[in-house]
Symmetry: C2
């Protein structure tokens, strides 16, 4: 991951409504949620929600698909993991970070982040 992608992803998450929205999608899992359901859950006007969905999508953190009349959004987990990995890359100069429980993210890889 490159620095400007990471900045874009962090900026996308650094907003009250978008953070709540992203977490909602993280918790919803692979099946995702329709835009209308999100607007209702978060009590945000449609036009504002659409703006925030666009921001998250531009940052690569969520995906959309159309299903009948609804547009379904879901979290893009691998993008999220790439971000977490980037943040903690080469952490603690390789010393293991004790006694703090840092460096968690990098220990379970070998898969496509």
């Amino acid at each position: 991951m490159k620095a400007d992608q990471a900045v874009a992803a962090l900026a996308a998450l650094a907003q009250e409504h978008r953070l709540a929205l992203f977490r909602l999608l993280v918790q919803a899992g692979e099946k995702g949620l329709a835009a209308g359901a999100i607007a209702e859950a978060l009590a945000i006007p449609n036009s504002s929600l659409s703006f925030h969905l666009t921001q998250l999508r531009a940052a690569g953190l969520i995906e959309q698909r159309r299903e009948h009349r609804s547009i379904i959004y879901r979290a893009h987990y691998s993008a999220m993991n790439a971000l977490l990995t980037y943040l903690m890359e080469n952490c603690c100069a390789g010393t293991g970070c004790d006694p703090e429980p840092a460096c968690l993210v990098q220990q379970e890889e070998g898969k496509s982040l």
Copy 2:
């Protein structure tokens, strides 16, 4: 962790210089780095660096201590882990997130995040 703390931490990281700075400190480990060394490594004017250090510190992501004439900064790993955990909280509706390698952060807890 509460939502507004998470937003503050993400906003602090969502800036080119601050992200590079934070990662530099993550990689430097517990011994940290002096402000001057950071300014040199990142090629940022002192006043700008000081602004960014203040932002990161206000968000709880870094700590400072004085050592002789220098002020040493280091990453606050537990705050970082609290943020990562918050982002992925209850992820994938408990289904395990396969086939994506998400949900990494929460699997190694039992320690003070």
